[in-house]
Symmetry: D2
Subunit: 326 residues, 4 copies
Amino acid sequence: MNERSKDDTESRSRDPGRAAVLAGMLDNLVARGREAAQEGRVADYIPALARVDGRRVGAAIVDAGGRILESGDSRVAFTLQSVSKAIALPYVIDTIGEEAVFSRVGREPTGDPFNSIIRLEASSLRKPYNPMINAGAIVVTSLMPGRTGAEKVEGFRAWAAPLLGLDELAEDTEVSSSEAATANRNRSIAWFLKELGLLDSPVDVTLDAYFRQCATLVDAASLARFAAILAFDGIETASGRRMMTPRAARVTKALMMSCGLYDGSGSFCVETGIPAKSGVGGGIAAAAKGRYGIATYGPALDAHGNSVAGTLIIRGLSEALDLFEI
Amino acid sequence: MNERSKDDTESRSRDPGRAAVLAGMLDNLVARGREAAQEGRVADYIPALARVDGRRVGAAIVDAGGRILESGDSRVAFTLQSVSKAIALPYVIDTIGEEAVFSRVGREPTGDPFNSIIRLEASSLRKPYNPMINAGAIVVTSLMPGRTGAEKVEGFRAWAAPLLGLDELAEDTEVSSSEAATANRNRSIAWFLKELGLLDSPVDVTLDAYFRQCATLVDAASLARFAAILAFDGIETASGRRMMTPRAARVTKALMMSCGLYDGSGSFCVETGIPAKSGVGGGIAAAAKGRYGIATYGPALDAHGNSVAGTLIIRGLSEALDLFEI
Amino acid sequence: MNERSKDDTESRSRDPGRAAVLAGMLDNLVARGREAAQEGRVADYIPALARVDGRRVGAAIVDAGGRILESGDSRVAFTLQSVSKAIALPYVIDTIGEEAVFSRVGREPTGDPFNSIIRLEASSLRKPYNPMINAGAIVVTSLMPGRTGAEKVEGFRAWAAPLLGLDELAEDTEVSSSEAATANRNRSIAWFLKELGLLDSPVDVTLDAYFRQCATLVDAASLARFAAILAFDGIETASGRRMMTPRAARVTKALMMSCGLYDGSGSFCVETGIPAKSGVGGGIAAAAKGRYGIATYGPALDAHGNSVAGTLIIRGLSEALDLFEI
Amino acid sequence: MNERSKDDTESRSRDPGRAAVLAGMLDNLVARGREAAQEGRVADYIPALARVDGRRVGAAIVDAGGRILESGDSRVAFTLQSVSKAIALPYVIDTIGEEAVFSRVGREPTGDPFNSIIRLEASSLRKPYNPMINAGAIVVTSLMPGRTGAEKVEGFRAWAAPLLGLDELAEDTEVSSSEAATANRNRSIAWFLKELGLLDSPVDVTLDAYFRQCATLVDAASLARFAAILAFDGIETASGRRMMTPRAARVTKALMMSCGLYDGSGSFCVETGIPAKSGVGGGIAAAAKGRYGIATYGPALDAHGNSVAGTLIIRGLSEALDLFEI
C-alpha cells in the first residue's frame, strides 16, 4: 500500500516555504498528540484491536493542489471501523440515489451512544436517525449492490480504492472474523431493522458485509486523499477528476458535522468547525471545505471512542489554519 | 387430546346443587364473553393465528376436589403463546433452582410493552426485568436442559403434560414455523441477551425452543388443571400428588400477579385480585389460591393483547366467588 | 401518642401460649433486623431525617381480634413519607370515587424510580402509571378536598387518625419545611402534571399538602392498626366498625402488592406475598389478608430506599406464619 | 421600529445589476413561500400567537457590505421565541465566558423534542445537552446578569438591540404574559434544573426573564442584521465594528448547525448547509459564513415547528447562491 515515498510526495510541493511551516506545525501536533495519547486507551473489545500499539500517532494533509504532507505513523495500516460509514454513505448515495437512501435512514443527530437500539423502538421515526450510528450504517450496507457479503464489500472497496489513491483495498481478516464472532449487539440491531422492514438484504449477508467493511485496511495518507475529495465536493484536485457527486460529498459532510464523533460530535464541531468521522481503529478523516483533506491515526481512544491524538491534531490544525467553516 | 368427555367430568362433581349454580354462572359468563368478543380482534401477525374464529369462547374451572366444570369451547385447541411463560418458569425453577434462574432474570414489573428491548440497554439491572416479558422468557427457555431446541422443548412438554392432565403435548407446527419466520423482534432481543451474557444456549437453539414452546397446543380444560396446581401451591388435589415445589408455584403466581397480562397487568390485578397469565393465542390461566384453577379461551383480543372474553369471565368469577386474594 | 402501655395491650391477648410464641418470634426478628440494619443507611436528603438513629428497630402486629403485639421501638415516632401514599389513596377513593381517581392516575407498575418523570413525557398513557410513585401520589393529593394545603392535609389526617387508632395526627414541621425547601424534583413533577391537566388544585397548594402529608408522624403500633384495617378489607375487627369500603382497601392492597416498595416491589412480592408500602422515614405497613396488620420501623434503608430491618422482619413473619397470599 | 425605508436601504446597493437579480430571486422565493405556507399552521398554544395571520411571509438579506435587501413582510413585527436562544447564547458567552456557560449546559445535539425533560433524568451528563433546547436555554437565561427577571431581560435587550440595528427592543407583553400563564412544561424543566444545581438564579426570576426574552419583538429586516454579524464572525461589516467575539459567533453557529431547527435540524443542515435558528413566532435567522445574514418571517409552521415559508426560502437561497458551507 505504501509504494509512495514520503520524500517523493513532499517534493511535489511547489511552495517550499509555506510547506515547511505547515510540516513543522504538523510534526509539532503529532508530537503533542503522541504525548496526550498516553491518557487514552486502545479499543479492547476485540483481541486483534487490543494488541495495537497505543503510542502510534500519524497524520496526513492533502491540499488544494493534491500535494500530501505527512508526519509520524502516516503509513501504518489500521482498520477503518466507523470511518467506513463516511465512505459507504456517498458510495450508496451515488449508487441508488439520495432519496432511496434516506427513505430508510434519517438525517438527524441523536445524542445517543453509537450502538444504541432504543430509538428503533421508542421513536415514531421508525428508522435509524442517521447513517453515522451503527443502526443507520447497517441499513446503508444493506443497500449496497450484491447478493452476498463478499459481493457487497467488493463493490464497496472497488468504489473506494481510487478515492483513497490505492489500487485495491485489503482486509484485516482477523478483525473481521473477530467482529463476526463478538458483535452480538450489531446482530440485535440488524434483526430489529429487519423487523422494521429496513434491510434490503438478509441479516447475515448484511452483517458479513458490514463487519468486512469495518475491517478494511487504510493508512492516514490514503485516508487524507479520501478526505480531500470530500473537502473539494467530489473532485480529486490533482487530476481534476470527479470521484463522487457534489451532493454525495455535501450530504456526507453535513452528517459528519453533526454525528461524526460519537457522543462527542457536538463538542468537536464547536471546537473545530470541520466535519469529521472517527473510528475505534484509531482513524479520523476530516474534510476542511475547499482547503484540505486531513486524516489522523492514533489508536489510543478517549471515553467517547475518539482518537485522543487525532482530535488534538485536528483541533490544532483548525485553529492554526483557521479551518472553522461555520 | 380430548379423550375426557364433558359428561364424565361433570358427573364427578359431588355437590350437584352448588355445581349447578356454578355451571349456570359460568355459562352465563361465557355467553357474555362471546358477546363482548365482537369488539376484540384476533392476533394477525401470523397467518395461522389470523385464521382463528374470533367468536370462539370457552372456560373451565377445576375446584379443590379436582372436579372440572366446563362451558363453551373448552375443548378447542389453541397455542399457549405467552401462557407458556407461566409453565416454563416453574419448570426451570424446579430444574435448576430459583437462585440460578433469578441470577439471569429479574422479578420486577416494567410497565413496558411485552416485546420491549429498551431496558436491556437503558437499565442498570443488565438483565430482563421479569420472566413474563419476552426478553425474560427467552432467558428462561435458554436455561431449560437440552442441547438442541427439540431437546429443550421435549423436556418442557414432558414436564408440563401431566400438569395439564395429558399424556403428551402436541405442537401447532404451522404456528411454530411462522413464528420462526417472522419473529425478528425476538431475534433482536435474543442477540442483545447474548451480548449481555445471559443466554445459556446458542441464540438459534434458544429461539427454536422458544417458538415451539409458544406453539404448544392446549385447551381450556387442560389449562385449568395446570392453573389448579398453581392454585394449590403445586399439589394436584384429586390425587394429592405434588407436581411442583410450593416455591415454584408461589414465585410464578407472584410474577403473574404483577406482570401476567402485558400492559394491562396492573389493572387486571386491581380488578380481579387473581394471578393470571394471558397469551395472544387467546388463552388465560388464572390461579385462585386454595380455591380454583381457571382457564379461558377466547382469541378475540383487546388493545393490550388480552382475551376480551377471558378477562370478562375471570372478572365475573372473581366478583361472584369472591376470589380477590390480596 | 403513646398513652397505651405495652403491658396493657399485651394483656388483652386471650391465647397467652400462642401469643407468647408469636412474641418470641417477633422479638427475635427485631433483634435480627437491628443487626442487619447496620448495613443500611438513614435517608440523608433532609437534615431532619439524616439525624435519625439508624439503630432504631421496632415492629407491631395486630391480629384478627384487634390485639396488638409489639417489639422494640414500636412507639418511636417517625414520618410517614411514602407510606402516606397507601393511606391517601383509600381516603380519596372513598371521598371522590374509584373512577374519578383512576381517570387521573393509572394502575400499572413501572419498574422506574419512584421520582421518575420520564413516562409523563414518553408514555402514551398521559398520566402517572400508579398512585405509589411520586407523580401519582401528587395527583391523589390534589384530589383531596380543600382549597388550601392546610385544608387538604387536615382532611386527610382527620380521616386517617381513627384508622391509626389515634385521636389526631401530628406533623414533624421541621421535616415538612425541609421538604418544601429541597424537593425540587417534586415541583418539577407537579408542573408537568399541571401541563397534562391532571392536577385538581394549584401546584403550590398541592405540594404544600403533599409535603405535610409525608411529614405526618406515626409509630409502628399505630401504623399496624391501619394495616389491619386494610388486611380485613376495611373493618376494624375489634369494634367491627367499617373504616373504609372493601373496594378502597382492595384496590390499595393490589397496588401495594405490585408497586409498594419502590424498585424492589417485585422482589418483595415474590419473597413475602404480602402487599406492603414503605417510606424513607423507615416505616413499612403490610396487610396480610384476613390475618394480620403489620408495621415495622427501621430508618436504616437499603439501596432501594426500603427499611433493611423492616423487610427482614416482614419476610420472616411471612415465612413463619405462612402469610404468602398469592 | 421601521424607521428605515425600503427604498433607502436598497438604494445603498452599489451593484444594481447583481442586486436586481438577487431581488428578483428573493421576491420569487417569498411568493413561493407564501403559497407553501398554506399547508402550515400558526402556533396556537397561546391565543396571542394563534391570532397571527399565517399568510404573512417576508425575508431580508444583509450582504458583506452591510446592504440589506428585503421582500414581502420584512417589517412585520413578530416575537423571537426560540430564535432568542441564538442571541442569548453569544450574549452570555461574551459576558461570563465560554467555559462558565458550558460547565452548565452541553454542546451535543439530542434528536429529542425541544421541550423534552427525559435526558435531564436519564442521561449521565447531568445537564441539558445544548443551549438550543428549552432546558439549555433556560440555563443560559439564568446565567444572564441581573437579580430580577426585568434586570436580566433588560441587559439582554440592551446588548442585542445594536446587533439588530435598533435603538431598543420592545416586548409583546400579551405574549409574555400568556407564556407565563401557560408554560407549565417550562416550569417543570426549570425545577428539574434547580434540582440538578444548574440554575444561577431563582426559578421564578429565570422563567420571568426567559418568557420575556422569548416575547421580544423583531422583524425580518432587523433579524437579518443580527444574522449578518454571526455570518461575519462578530463584525458589523458596514461599520467594521466588532459586536461580539469571534468565538461567541462560531460557537453559536456551530450549535445552530446541529440543533437550530428542532427535530428537523439535521435535515435542514443536509439540505442547506447553513446554520440557522427558528422560532414558533415564525422567524428564522440564518448565517451564511462570510456571505450573508438572512432572516425570514412566516408564522405558518410545519410539523417540526419550523416556518414553512422560511425553510423554503433559505433552501432556495442556499441552492441559488451556493451557500452550502460544509
